[in-house]
Amino acid sequence: MKTSPLSRLLLLLTALLAAWQVAIGIEGLERVPVLAYTVGFGILLVACLLLIILGLEVLESPVVVIVSTVIPLSLSLGLVWEHLTSWRTAYLTFVLAGFLAILVTRALPFKGRLPVIVLAVVHGISGMVIFLLPSVLAAQGTTRAGFALVGLGGALIGLGGLLLSFLKAGRPILPRETILRILPALLLLMTATFVAGFMLA
């Protein structure tokens, strides 16, 4: 499927938003959240540039599973480090162990459902953190209401992850062409809600 000019434009806008977030949107935070958000948005930026260069077919590469896990892991680490100080060490351990587990189960020829279970657990927990933590904090009034947009971004990242995972598993929820057509818009919406949420926090 050829990548349309509109898809390229949406990906370019996503890349620019991610670049803005890395350069300006996370100024003044502590070192670990800055590093975590830089990794998350940085991967998003480079991924969008590669999607523009190579087309959406590149999503079929096995590396995508590993790379796409780093985004929710790093973003959730940044959020936990900022807002759940007593969970910092535990969550950092989970992030490192989770990433390692995905790396190992994807790199080595594991039989059975272990690779899928590991992926679901790591993706699921980090996705829930991104969705729930900002939503709860905003609802409690601990942060400004706009921070809930980060939670919305978390929901969108989860949706994108689900669509891609089922597609790669051979049981697509939607037709492949439809998924590839809506993905750039989904990525842009996700990044825009993240950027707006952090700005309004």
Binding site: A19, V22, A23, I24, I26, E27, V34, T38, F41, G42, L45, V46, L49, L50, I53, L54, V58
Partner: protein, 293 residues
């Protein structure tokens, strides 16, 4: 049907010539080199002078375009036998060699002349770029050794150095680092190109790294040069005093370059090669913008 006036015919003829000349200056490559020159000037963050900036842009554009036309004039026999280039106006005879030589010389003389008039040191650096490119790289080494790329790289690093020299009035360490960044960035672009069009270069009997040392060594050279390019750009960025956020962004983009470079070594494929080739240009353009802010 109305007959066109002699004036309209003359204008149409000029437009047709200009349309033929455009491929001779390789607009994308010239634009990227021009962008490095402007970034070199802006990286000094001296009080902005619109007129000087315009002068830098015009002189570099003329000199880079001139040297490109002269290269194409000399390499027209190679272009004619390569699939990728046989349709170029000089190779297929739409522009005569004498006309191209005249155009190349005029552009080069105007470019270097303007540069010397603006500042002798700036003019010297612009001239050095042209000299390395046309005389050392194209006339002397390109058909003899694959190492000619080094001199092509040195020449490619001159616009950014020239821009910096124009702003600071001297050749400083930052300028040399920026120049080095371009020099070592060039293999990520040119060597991936020579792997992609390996057969073309073979048929033209041009020695390249892949034909001399093999693909594996070429990929290792690409990875190594990407590391040095990214490091030079990073150190120059720190020395210039680029804001922390923009440095972070440079680090992210450099990481992308390094990952792709290593992918060409450990997971070589046509797709990875092509993505590195394209990404390298984006990387350079983005880095130039970040250095200028």
């Amino acid at each position: 049907m109305t007959a066109k006036s002699p004036m309209a015919n003359h204008q149409q003829s000029i437009l047709q010539r200009i349309r033929l000349y455009l491929p001779l200056i390789k607009s994308l490559q010239t634009s990227l080199l021009l962008a490095t020159g402007l970034a070199g000037y802006l990286s000094a963050h001296t009080p902005p002078s619109g007129l000087t900036l315009l002068g830098v842009a015009v002189s570099l554009f003329l000199a880079i375009s001139g040297s490109t036309v002269l290269n194409m004039w000399y390499d027209r026999d190679i272009d004619a036998v390569m699939n990728r280039t046989h349709h170029r106006p000089l190779a297929d005879g739409r522009v005569s060699p004498t006309e191209a030589l005249r155009l190349g010389l005029i552009l080069s003389i105007l470019g270097v002349g303007l540069a010397v008039w603006m500042s002798p040191l700036y003019g010297l650096v612009v001239f050095a770029g042209l000299f390395f490119d046309v005389v050392i790289y194209t006339l002397w080494l390109k058909r003899r050794t694959c190492w000619s790329i080094v001199w092509g790289g040195v020449s490619g690093g001159m616009p950014i150095l020239a821009g910096r020299v124009m702003a600071t009035g001297q050749i400083d360490l930052i300028g040399i680092l920026l120049s080095m960044a371009v020099l070592f960035w060039i293999p990520t672009h040119i060597l991936t190109f020579s792997m992609r069009y390996f057969a073309d270069y073979q048929s033209a009997r041009i020695p390249t790294f892949p034909s001399t040392y093999g693909f594996e060594t070429t990929r290792a050279v690409i990875a190594l040069s990407a590391i040095i390019a990214a490091a030079s750009m990073g150190v120059a960025g720190v020395m210039i005093g680029v804001q922390a956020g923009f440095l972070r962004l440079m680090a992210v983009l450099s990481a992308g370059l390094l990952v792709l470079s290593f992918a060409t070594v450990f997971r070589p494929s046509e797709r990875v090669n092509y993505s590195l080739f394209k990404y390298a240009s984006l990387y350079m353009l983005a880095s130039m913008i970040l250095l200028s802010i």
